[in-house]
């Protein structure tokens, strides 16, 4: 057994940092500044750890639980950076709300820890534990506004539906274990390839799949999303829309293509229809939303649909497309949510589309950043979102799913309608005296936005080096 603890350095750092933050909070040395410094330190150290450990080809480690390939390296880096940006965005929010930051930051770190294991896990049991760690931290974060009914509603809904989906997932796992006697993805794929499978195995595959599709918020497993995003604190909604979602995609890709690839003719049909339904419903439902957080929630559903295109397409191209899209989507969506955070909001005020009215005249830079993020979400060049979509649609056409690509492009044109409702408010509507709210220039929030905006433009104009980095990550399975 290969149980070298040093390969777990980033995860150990995350766990240590999370506990340290909790302890410091309990010790009563409560200051916003210290908590923020600690969480920054922990996440940066974790990122350094991920890079230091790097890729290991002497895996899998810990009784076949963990694989440290380029895929895991990339996703863990992405998660840690996303968590870091979320913490930066949370600082102004926490300061304004005057809330205790300790458990907040600790939970973000623990969720990130779960996500990290999702990226590297190659055994379904381990993956399930990681998923639960991420999910449990998320439930609490969704209910962070202790005094607010909406926040309670979000947490309860998320918890009940999340528990249900975990149950479904575990049931699928048990059926698969019963049928094949293993939970290791590699063994599973071998046994699946050996011959016809039992009804129980098929049921197991689809139950497992449903559980994972719930986590990525694909239609028809999406109903929790808008309510949870709306009720949760805005930086947390931003976190949900990128971190856990990207982690679920990492798990989905690995489970489907490393474990269940021999059954792909069956689940591909199912997932392709789910992808189509997700793109259509996510975008159509977003059209009429007045609350920006709800709108972005539906938009994040739609984006899960686009990314599913790459999952269905598979192959090096499809995998690479999903990996790159997760990056593009993370920086873009964090940016868009970030502006909602910084929009002088308190509790649930300042979340309406109309609150953006006239922003371009008052704060042209902020408006321009929002424009950039919205264009990227809509897939208009020269932004990261365009490059990501180009890759996804290319993968779909390549795999022969031209019809899905057509649905995708038409729906991304539809999506521009609601994204441009915000643009319209910012640039076109309003005059003196009818303006919306100002954007607060809070240092760390602004820094996060600058990072997101630069990344959105950079990955849109020059994605080359990132794509080169991702190529080996997409080639890890024998296609």
């Amino acid at each position: 057994m290969n149980a070298n603890l040093t390969v777990l350095a980033p995860e150990l750092i995350l766990a240590g940092a999370g506990m340290l933050i909790l302890l410091a909070g309990v010790a009563g040395k409560a200051s916003q500044r210290l908590a923020f410094a600690l969480v920054n330190l922990g996440l940066v150290a974790a990122a350094a750890g991920v890079i230091a450990v790097g890729e290991r080809d002497d895996g899998p480690f810990f009784a076949g639980m963990i694989q440290l390939d380029r895929f895991a390296l990339y996703f863990r880096l992405l998660f840690v950076v996303a968590a870091l940006l979320v913490c930066w965005l949370s600082r102004p929010f926490l300061l304004r709300a005057g809330r205790n930051p300790w458990e907040y930051y600790a939970l973000v770190v623990f969720a990130t820890l779960g996500m990290a294991f999702l990226a590297s896990g190659v055994n379904l049991a381990g993956l399930y534990v990681a998923l639960e760690l991420m999910a449990l931290s998320s439930y609490i974060l969704a209910g962070y506004y202790r005094g607010e009914v909406k926040s309670h509603e979000a947490a309860t809904k998320y918890f009940v539906l999340g528990a249900l989906s975990s149950g479904v997932l575990v049931y699928g796992l048990s059926l698969l274990y019963g049928a094949f006697g293993t939970l290791s993805l590699a063994d599973l794929s071998q046994r699946l390839a050996q011959g016809p499978r039992s009804v129980a195995a098929t049921a197991g595959i689809f139950l497992l799949l449903s559980g994972m599709l719930f986590k990525v918020a694909a239609v028809p497993f999406h109903v929790w999303t808008p309510d949870v995003y709306e009720g949760a604190p805005t930086p947390i909604a931003a976190f949900f829309s990128v971190g856990p979602k990207a982690a679920a995609f990492a798990m989905l890709l690995r489970v489907l293509w490393a474990g269940l690839a021999p059954a792909s003719p069956d689940w591909r049909v199912f997932v392709s229809w789910v992808a189509a339904a997700t793109m259509v419903w996510g975008n159509v439902a977003a059209l009429t939303q007045e609350n920006v957080k709800r709108m972005l929630a539906y938009s994040s559903i739609a984006h899960a649909g686009y990314a599913l295109l790459g999952v269905v397409a598979g192959g090096p191209l499809g995998t690479q497309a999903v990996l790159f899209y997760m990056l593009a989507y993370t920086v873009t969506n964090l940016g868009a949510f970030g502006l909602v955070v910084l929009l002088a909001s308190k509790e649930y005020a300042g979340e309406k589309v109309a609150d953006f009215r006239g922003l371009a005249r008052r704060q042209p830079l902020a408006a321009f950043a929002m424009l950039l993020f919205l264009l990227s979400l809509g897939g208009i060049p020269p932004t990261a979102g365009f490059m990501g979509k180009l890759y996804l649609f290319a993968a779909a056409v390549h795999a022969g799913y031209a019809w899905l690509a057509v649905v995708g492009v038409i729906m991304s044109a539809v999506s521009l309608y609601y994204y441009f409702r915000i643009v319209r408010e910012m640039y076109l509507s309003g005059g003196e005296g009818t303006d919306g709210l100002p954007i607060l220039a809070e240092a760390w929030g602004v820094r996060a936005l600058v990072v997101c905006a630069v990344a959105t433009l950079l990955f849109g104009v020059y994605p080359t080096s990132t794509l080169d980095f991702l190529a080996p990550a997409a080639n890890i399975w024998p296609w």
């Binding site: 192959g315 371009a360 005249r361 264009l375 208009i380 060049p381 020269p382 365009f386 490059m387 180009l390 890759y391 649609f393 290319a394 056409v397 390549h398 795999a399 022969g400 799913y401 031209a402 690509a405 057509v406 492009v409 038409i410 991304s412 044109a413 539809v414 521009l416 309608y417 441009f420 643009v423 319209r424 640039y427 076109l428 509507s429 994605p463 080359t464 794509l467 080169d468 190529a471």
Partner: protein, 534 residues
């Protein structure tokens, strides 16, 4: 650095540079300086682009002034600029109209000037990039980038229904272009790795979006696939042109846009659709293009007649000009899908002509709108006495639009009709009907606005076109006469490029015995007659 010495790069990015300069160095309140700098950059761009006229050698390589660098090697996308005779003319048209658009906006735009000129300049870079890009990804990037500034131009500085018009324009053209993207991807994978799931193998070439490379292999593509790619391209380009029945965004966008926006829309943006057909659909998908001819011609003719009839019923001058665009662009499409050298060169020349005359008409309507804040035909009458210079300029541009001999419209329409006649007599007959209708609505408009007595008191003291306004129109008038009297240099620049397109799309045409005789040349004599003397 090589990048900065390439003429095309310079032409494409000077406007963007101007936009950045204004954003960072000119304060919002100093509107005078903003106008000055915007005009300087747009003007400099125009004068630099004149060098193209001399730098491009019609008898040289198919694509010249090439600048080519790897951009995203993983998928074979390149940063690839290059021009042929077709794009040279359209680039010149773009820089000229861009310059005029900036210069004509001084008094029309009275709020948020800084943003306005910045978007106008960004738009200019986007349009120029479209005509220069020879890599599909790069082309698509410019094609879409350009939508955003246009959205703002209509949405912020437009008329009463600007919000509706802006988003309609945006979404309409976006739907077309995203479908085009699917067509591009199909072409791309046909050339390289094929389509995995449906078991259609590709050619196995290294993946590339290089248009010149794809031109070599695409004609061999199986017809079943060509047809689909053609349809995908068709939606993208036909919406932009716009061809009947995809034209409904155009009247809204044209009418609501500020004057300069309308000039750019009519003058350049519509040409991007027709340019797409000539540059991509015809040479890449010859078999499907031939298959589509009856449909395309039918739509073109419907467009010609329908546009003209609707124009005739308009009470709003701007709307009338907008619908006349539908009709004129029908002509361009008719000539193009005659698929012979006359038709295509007429079509290309008519693109230029339409840019000049319709751009001019929008400028003229804008001038009167600034004075009266109405464009209703019934609000005017007898203006010839009040504004003689304005009336003269209006007359010349009107005549150019109708196609009066000695003016540019005549040459273009005649060449198109010759090309159409060569294919099918009835096409030419239908097209000619459109000319008659065109004369009817234009002259009728002219008569109602300029002749008769001055019936509205407020029209009695309208100031004539001032010097700046005259200068926005004089270049257009000069070009109208130039093309009308001596079109040969224009034909000469486009001829070899057009011939290359015809060679691919209808190889039989040039080889046919009738074409090897000097017959087509002889047929073009009338309009080239001034040239015949040399």
């Amino acid at each position: 650095m090589e990048f900065f010495t390439n003429l095309l790069n310079v032409i494409c990015y000077v406007p963007l540079l101007g936009a950045l300069f204004i954003i960072f160095l000119v304060p919002k309140e100093n509107t005078k300086a903003i106008k000055l700098w915007a005009t300087l950059f747009a003007g400099a761009d125009f004068f630099i682009s004149l060098a193209l006229w001399f730098a491009y050698d019609p008898n040289g390589e198919p694509f010249q002034l090439v600048y080519k660098k790897p951009w995203i090697p993983a998928i074979g996308a390149q940063y690839f600029f290059g021009v042929d005779g077709i794009s040279v003319l359209l680039i010149l048209l773009t820089t000229l109209l861009g310059f005029i658009a900036v210069y004509s906006s001084y008094t029309a735009i009275t709020h948020r000037e800084k943003e306005y000129y910045v978007w106008l300049l960004v738009l200019q870079t986007g349009m120029l990039g479209v005509f220069m890009a020879l890599d599909f990804v790069l082309f698509y990037v410019f094609w879409e980038v350009m939508l955003v500034p246009m959205y703002f131009l209509i949405g912020v500085w437009g008329g009463p229904r600007k919000l509706y018009a802006a988003i309609k324009f945006f979404l309409y053209t976006l739907v077309g272009s995203v479908l085009m993207l699917i067509g591009i991807l199909a072409l791309y994978f046909y050339n390289s790795t094929g389509f995995a799931l449906v078991g259609l193998p590709g050619l196995g070439n290294p993946p590339t979006f290089d248009v010149t490379e794809l031109m070599k292999i695409a004609p061999s593509m199986p017809f079943s696939l060509q047809k689909w790619v053609f349809l995908a391209f068709f939606v993208g380009f036909a919406i932009k042109v716009p061809m009947f029945p995809f034209h409904t965004w155009l009247p809204d966008a044209h009418v609501e846009a500020p004057t300069a926006g309308s000039v750019i829309l009519a003058g350049v943006l519509l040409k991007m659709g027709t340019y797409g057909f000539v540059r991509f659909s015809l040479p890449l998908l010859p078999e499907a293009s031939r298959w589509a001819v009856p449909w395309m011609v039918a739509l073109a003719i419907i467009g010609i007649i329908y546009g003209a009839l609707v124009a005739m019923a308009q009470q709003d001058m701007k709307k009338l000009v907008a619908y006349s665009s539908v009709s004129h662009l029908g002509f361009v499409m008719l000539g193009m899908f005659a698929l012979n050298p006359q038709g295509l060169s007429g079509s290309l020349l008519q693109m230029i002509n339409h840019g000049l005359s319709t751009g001019g008409l929008f400028l003229l309507v804008g001038i009167i709108y600034e004075r009266r804040h109405t464009r209703g035909l019934s609000e005017f009458g007898g203006l010839a006495k009040v504004m003689p210079v304005y009336a003269t300029l209006f007359m010349i541009i009107t005549m150019a639009s109708i196609g009066l001999p000695t003016l540019n419209g005549f040459v273009g329409e005649l060449t198109i009709l010759l090309g159409a006649f060569n294919r099918n007599t009835w096409w030419a007959v239908a097209g000619a009907t459109g000319i008659v209708l065109g004369a009817a609505y234009m002259l009728w408009m002219y008569q109602r606005v300029f002749f008769g007595e001055v019936v509205h008191e407020e029209n009695r003291n309208l100031p004539d076109a001032n010097r700046r306004e005259q200068w926005t129109l004089i270049p257009l008038v000069v070009l109208c006469f130039w093309i009308g009297l001596y079109p040969k240099p224009f034909f000469k620049i486009m001829e070899p490029s057009i011939r290359r397109v015809v060679e691919v799309v209808d190889p039989g045409y040039l080889k046919a015995p009738v074409a090897s005789l000097p017959a087509p040349e002889a047929k073009r004599q009338p309009e080239a007659s001034p040239a015949a003397g040399e």
